[in-house]
Symmetry: C2
Subunit: 367 residues, 2 copies
């Protein structure tokens, strides 16, 4: 069915193009735009505190794009967590229409709808460029539409953090035994994977993380990567920086209340959704830039940071736990199975291509 | 100066944001949009033949986005090579105003302005995600603006092919000696690098490449990657598929005649440039999807394709030649030096980050 829909979309696009014989004509929509003199004010609630770097820049970029491309007919008011006081209230805010738009991450809603889990990133899953291709051409957006339509919402990619680092550790991890009882701040599904191999995932508010790690209340934590880790200062109190496995391509999300979206003139609907997509791609570039810059700073100021990668037996145990948890989810829900199957089928093809392109190139240059 | 300009932009953005206190208000631009009832018809000349996959889809996507977001006030007519008959005439078409817009690749114009070379991809240079970050946040767009403003044009990213494969070879390359006198279709700067180590780069029209390779008129050729190589059929006549080094992130370009751009209402200017950028990011996703899909097909239908990577001494010789050619260019022109320095400084930081993120992740999974 998904394939059929994709085929239909492809055929439809070709047909439109041929009908226009290379022209994308002015048509009655121009009239529509002219007739609409209103300024539409939309409200957006974001999970992040005010002036949060990179993530908060993405919502500002989106609002600016929407404003500029609509000639001021779209005015977006952004409320940060400091204003609405509920970082994880975004799903309900937008579903109920209390806010028109949201900016957050899909995997935060797995308690409300288990199938929202799959649209952020998955342990051992796709890299950012693989996942962008899956969203745009591999059926990902259609599956996300299916999950969110039930809640009267549309979700659109909201910006990628890039490959997240595995986190800051006080001690080296050399065997699976070293993970037993390890107290680590690692939330969500990746935390479930860690728990399955014997670690003790804990959740601690962001503001208390540094002290908890410094005092040994926790043994390890993951946050994001150099783009956002630098300001947290974890590198001052934990010597080992482990490479990632649990969030290889964390994609944030924009949420739109569908009733609100459909009430807008067609051109403003298109500006809104495309401004979101562009802000999302731009945020990935921003994240990569900030990580490159901040990693250089960290290495210079703290040359003793030791970058480590889990040894293969540790990876194998985590992969096995991840596979078993996904199998349980696929068995329990046909939509979950459809999404997991789509991701895994695409990942297999994409990774074979990545192996002979970017990966081979990077390895040949001997970094 | 570049740094100062970036700082100014950053400060300006923050100031605007604070002044609006989280609001992106409707302002007098709304009035401007309302007053403008005209349909603006713009012409675009592209290097590619009609219905060329992926590249041609990107211009159609751009035109559709511009049409939809403007409510039909922007009508883009796309002329392919079949119509305008001059694949490499795009620069002059847009500079002279014969066409308003173009879609091509910046490195085609190095004979007209040597400094256009650097905005497509460079041998041993940045990957696509590294380069997108450089364009958007590392000063790349500003440098491209500087080069193109002299010609009365603006260039905007036009879609990435992903890491290009090193090409199809009839014989294995095991030593630098194997490259001596090797007749290879490899155009542009990468061809200069190949010539410097002893190969014989030749240029042959696309339509004659298959026969030339089949009959041994040439020993090797590079085209793009599975996304576009599959339809060319080279895998049927050459057994070795070498991984890439010469075009790690080929970014196409949109060109805009600046006088034309500035004559448009401000909201349509913003729609135009942002639709280009979004179509560009989308084409990268499309390329990666098409390569993943086509590579799976190739491997299934022709299981004997042998993927090879040049041995380290061959890479070292090519890298050395590349470095020398770049040093010559940097010495001969201060703007060339400014661009090369910017790319190399950013690449050093970006690659250190890629090494501990995507590269480490891919290698740990043992592909």
């Amino acid at each position: 069915m998904k394939k059929l829909m994709q085929l239909f979309t492809a055929v439809a696009l070709v047909t439109i193009t041929n009908a226009n014989a290379g022209w994308f004509d002015g048509d009655d929509k121009a009239t529509e735009a002219k007739q609409d003199n209103k300024v539409y004010t939309l409200t957006l609630a974001e999970t992040w505190p005010s002036n949060f770097p990179v993530f908060g820049d993405a919502t500002k970029k989106f609002a600016q794009l929407a404003h500029d491309m609509s000639g001021g007919r779209l005015a977006i008011r952004i409320d940060s967590k400091n204003k609405h006081k509920s970082a994880l209230g975004i799903f309900d805010f937008v579903k109920s229409g209390q806010y028109d738009l949201g900016h957050s991450a899909s995997y935060y809603w797995k308690g409300k709808d288990a199938n929202t889990l799959y649209f952020t990133t998955m342990p051992f899953g796709m890299t950012a460029s693989e996942q962008h291709a899956w969203f745009a051409y591999g059926g990902g957006q259609e599956l996300m539409d299916k999950v969110y339509a039930k809640h009267g919402m549309k979700s659109i990619i909201g910006g990628n953090t890039g490959n997240q680092m595995g986190g800051w550790f006080k001690k080296e991890i050399n065997t699976v035994e070293d993970l037993q009882g390890l107290k680590m701040r690692i939330p969500g599904f990746a935390g479930d994977v860690m728990a399955k191999v014997g670690a003790k995932p804990t959740n601690i508010p962001a503001g208390e993380l540094y002290t908890a790690l410094d005092r040994g209340t926790i043994d390890a934590l993951e946050w994001v990567g150099p783009s956002l880790d630098l300001r947290m200062g974890f590198h001052k109190v934990a010597p080992y920086y482990y490479t990632g496995w649990h969030e290889p391509a964390t994609e944030l999300q924009f949420l739109i209340n569908l009733k609100k979206l459909n009430s807008l003139p067609k051109d403003l609907q298109d500006i809104l959704t495309n401004a979101m997509e562009l802000a999302a791609y731009d945020m990935y570039a921003h994240s990569e830039y900030a990580s490159a810059k901040n990693w250089a700073t960290m290495k210079k100021d703290y040359p003793n940071i030791q970058v480590k990668t889990f040894p293969k037996p540790v990876f194998d145990a985590l992969k096995q736990a991840n596979t078993e948890l996904l199998e349980e989810r696929a068995k329990s829900d046909p939509v979950a199975k459809e999404i997991i199957d789509s991701q895994q089928a695409y990942l297999a093809k994409a990774r074979a291509w990545t192996a002979i392109s970017d990966q081979s190139y990077l390895n040949a240059l001997g970094n």
